[in-house]
């Protein structure tokens, strides 16, 4: 065990009417680690991160941040507790500059209410440099950036505004091969800082093996397997990825079609 978890989730249950999306999920999130959250469509990944991000409230169970029980009534509460979520759509505006996107909604202004553009440019540049992109011109529009760079911008923004837990919702999907590697590199750089915990949601077993320290597998709203990188066999990961069904069974089923 590597120290104390920054965030602990105990027995989270979420019901939407008669439908149980999460049926008792527990997680431990450690700073300086990448926690891969894997599972098929409908496994409950989205529901889980929406509860962690304060979008939904859990029906049962408890979230602890630094050992203290917390209740998130809104995304704002979650952000204040240090949970930064980077959704798939990234919440970026294409026509606006890198800096204006970086500080969107949280601009730095002087006493007269005028933006400190130079300072904001510098911070945006430096923060992105820290995790691996050197932007010579933070006044360029986000629309000119590649998908991977946009991910980096969104991640840098979340970290700058105080994220201690960074939730990345399928950051590598919908990207080209090279850009996927860029994002994984960014994840590694954030991990190296040592003070930020990353929850990495993905479909891709290979990507998770490249960066993750710890795994949790979800299927039908339950944790069907969890463990550290060393404790899980390669074959075991693949089996759990498929929602617990034996690969052999699947192969057989496919054969019979």
């Amino acid at each position: 065990m590597a120290g104390q978890p920054y965030m602990r989730v105990e027995n989270l249950v979420k019901r939407f009417g008669p439908f149980t999306a999460l049926a008792g999920v527990s997680l431990e999130i450690f700073p300086g680690e990448v926690h891969a959250l894997l599972g098929d469509n409908g496994a409950g990944k989205s529901t889980l991160i929406k509860i962690l991000a304060g979008v939904h409230r859990a029906s049962e169970g408890q979230i602890y941040v630094e050992g203290r029980p917390v209740t998130f009534r809104s995304p704002r509460d979650a952000t204040a507790a240090g949970i930064g979520t980077v959704y798939q759509d990234l919440a970026l505006n294409q026509l606006m500059s890198v800096t204006r996107n970086f500080f969107m909604g949280r601009e730095i202004k002087n006493r007269l209410g005028v933006l400190k553009m130079d300072e904001m440019d510098r911070i945006a540049h430096d923060e992105m440099l820290k995790i691996g992109i050197d932007f010579s011109d933070p006044t360029q529009a986000v629309g000119t950036m590649s998908g991977g760079q946009r991910q980096t911008l969104a991640i840098a923004r979340a970290i700058y505004f105080g994220a201690k837990v960074l939730i990345l919702d399928e950051p590598t999907s919908a990207l080209g091969q090279k850009q996927q590697m860029g994002v994984l590199k960014t994840i590694k750089k954030v991990r190296k800082r040592g003070d930020i915990a990353i929850i990495f949601i993905t479909h891709n077993e290979i990507h998770s093996r490249l960066v993750a320290d710890r795994y949790t597998f979800l299927a039908l709203g339950k944790v069907i397997g969890a463990g550290t990188r060393d404790s899980l066999e390669h074959g075991e990961i693949r089996r759990l990825m498929a929602g617990g069904a034996e690969m052999a069974d699947l192969e057989q089923e496919l054969e019979s079609v």
Partner: protein, 372 residues
């Protein structure tokens, strides 16, 4: 520390200031404006830019500029306001009626300032209502404000007939002589400019005396409104919120931008601009008419587009709108300086430039978003 790779974003060409200037979004509007100024100068034998010509041109440019600034800011936030023209008619009616018949609810005679203040309170409330309907219903602002275009014009005409028995008011006393406020709205400003012109040997009438004494006050109001709009848009948090709201409002909301408040505030701002437009008109001419402001909403939108504002929101500049207002204002007035020209060419011109501008803006948008 490992070596940082140069990233793909740095493949963008490094440019010098000339190239940067040429790529600015306002450049198209600026070029059109320059061509119009030169063409008008020669076609009118210089009359368009003599002392009186400049005054008259600036008067109409400022009128266009005031409402186009409001329309442009709202468009940048992703909405339209088709009620601007009717709002001008409504505000003008309201002020003139109070000046003639007294304040509502038997509150006695109206001073110019009181008439303006009560009217502004009404128009801002209307703007607030329009904004609330748009953000709460999620309906297109095009339809909601089209409704108010008819509603307000009808209300203006009905009110006129009910109270005044006629759809126009004329022969009000010249309040400019007695009220500082009326003078501020309808009087003259920047007299020093024409004094200096006279002092330098120009600006003479046939008797050799000083000809023109100052600009219409609306010039000052245009400068104030455009200046404040420029400052807000490019240098303040609110400006960033306006861009963010018009670009992708879900992304803006996710980052804590109060999208609905921004939109409602801007609908109130267009109402404010329309009210200033109407006040300048009423106190300048001491008349009012139910048909005032007709089609002005479309001209305001056209100027905003000619000035480089994107129809889809998220992009635009106050400087471009200034160029657009000068261009459209000069052409609208050209008929007075070029006697042989048919005034309807104005609409032909605006239509053509508008189409050209839409295509140019689309190219700008594609360049910024990398061709998506």
């Amino acid at each position: 520390m490992d070596v940082i790779e140069r990233s793909e974003s740095d493949r963008l060409r490094q440019e010098n200031w000339i190239q940067r200037t040429v790529r600015r979004p306002e450049i198209g509007a600026f070029m059109v404006m320059a061509v119009i100024i030169v063409a008008l100068y020669f076609a009118s034998d210089g009359r368009a830019f003599n002392a009186l010509g400049v005054k008259n041109n600036v008067a109409i440019i400022a009128q266009f500029g005031i409402i186009a600034t409001g329309a442009a800011l709202l468009m940048i936030a992703g909405e339209f306001d088709l009620s601007i023209g009717s709002m001008i008619g409504f505000a003008g009616m309201s002020m003139a009626m109070m000046l003639k018949w007294g304040l509502p609810f038997g509150l006695g005679e109206a001073t110019p300032f009181a008439a303006f203040a009560v009217t502004l309170a009404m128009t801002l409330t209307l703007g607030w209502i329009i904004g609330n309907i748009v953000v709460r219903s999620g309906l297109s602002s095009f339809i909601v404000t089209l409704g108010f275009l008819f509603f307000l014009r009808g209300t203006t005409e009905v009110s006129f007939r009910l109270i005044n028995k006629s759809t126009q008011i004329s022969g009000l006393p010249d309040y400019k002589e007695t009220s500082w406020f009326a003078d501020l709205m309808g009087g003259e400003v920047f007299g020093w400019f024409y004094d200096a012109w006279f002092w330098l040997g120009g600006n003479l009438n046939r008797k050799g005396e000083q000809w023109v004494t100052g600009f219409d006050a609306r010039f000052l109001w245009w400068i104030l409104i455009a200046g404040v709009a420029w400052l807000i848009l490019s240098r303040t948090q609110l400006g960033n919120w306006i861009f963010a709201t018009g670009d992708d409002k879900e992304a803006a909301r996710a980052n804590g931008v109060p999208v609905n408040k921004v939109k409602i505030g801007l609908f109130m701002f267009t109402a404010f601009c329309a009210t200033i437009f109407a006040a300048c008109q009423v106190f300048d001419t001491n008349t009012s008419d139910a048909a005032k402001g007709n089609l002005k909403e479309l001209e305001a939108i056209a100027i905003a587009v000619v000035g480089g504002t994107l129809m889809t929101g998220g992009f635009g500049s106050v400087l471009g709108v200034i160029f657009g207002a000068v261009t459209v204002g000069l052409v609208a007035n050209a008929v007075f300086f070029i006697p042989w020209i048919d005034g309807s060419w104005f609409r032909v011109f605006v239509g053509t430039v508008l189409l050209a501008a839409v295509f140019a803006n689309e190219r700008i948008r594609k360049r910024i978003t990398g061709g998506i």
